[in-house]
């Protein structure tokens, strides 16, 4: 099955917006704008998932990353931001173009395969939960450890300030 022109154009627009948003993260002067640009990258990745036929993953990406993580990041940075970033936009743009070109050339070596169709994500997830549940528990503990670490650090900090 070959892609239609509409698919290719839609993907091109989504892809350009995502990559431009990722560039904006590094050329913005204020961190809050960088965080908003990161939210756009997350939203772009959700649209790419949708383009790949994985609607459930796109929904999760939107809910968890755009709705949760980006909001958390933006609120935290907006509340605490100080000063401008340390950066040199010209050096960054030159480096970004060079590295992206090299990586795109490498990516060009990937065979132009088209999938026969989207795999059923839910059936695969069910199988994964049966087989690899210890790994999923390990990931859950990673998140729990991060959250407990945050509470410990913030509690210590609050005691110092108050």
């Amino acid at each position: 099955m070959y892609p239609t022109n509409a698919d290719v154009y839609a993907y091109a627009i989504i892809s350009i917006i995502t990559v431009l948003s990722s560039i904006l993260i590094f050329v913005q002067k204020r961190l809050i704008y960088s965080a908003i640009a990161l939210a756009l990258v997350f939203a772009g990745s959700a649209l790419i998932f949708l383009e790949l036929g994985q609607a459930l993953l796109a929904l999760v990406q939107l809910l968890v990353f755009v709705g949760g993580i980006s909001t958390y990041l933006i609120v935290a940075i907006a509340a605490e931001e100080k000063g401008a970033k340390l950066y040199s936009p010209y050096i960054f743009i030159a480096a970004a173009v060079a590295i992206s070109l090299v990586l795109s050339l490498i990516a060009g070596a990937v065979p132009s395969a088209t999938g026969a169709g989207s795999s059923s994500f839910l059936s695969m997830a069910a199988s994964a939960f049966e087989t690899y549940y210890p790994l999923l528990y390990a990931m859950m503990f990673l998140l729990m450890a991060a959250t407990i670490g945050t509470i410990v650090v913030v509690k210590k900090f609050v005691r110092l300030v108050v």
Binding site: F26, S45, A98, L103, S104, A107, M124, A125, L142, V154
Partner: protein
Amino acid sequence: MLYLGYIIGTCAALLGVSLAGIITDRHFVVIMLAVEVMLVASMIATVAFISYNEAPDPIGFVFLIALWAVAAAETIALVTFYIYMKYRGVDFDVTKLSRMKW
């Protein structure tokens, strides 16, 4: 379905941009945001390979969940370090960080 090369090209571009950001910037938060973009690139590549595989292995799903967990944990750590460093008066320039504890 699109050609797989298109999607891998986007992932390569995202990875290149974030790598350039890490190389050229010294701000702690920006470097952490660059790592987030790298994780997004790997998520897109993972979902693409899952979608294009006619009989995908469930380990791909586990890998994707791992990426989500790492990205979420990294954001939590980023905000915590950011607030902690700001109120401790630590310089955000990573080249000036030489101690693990203040």
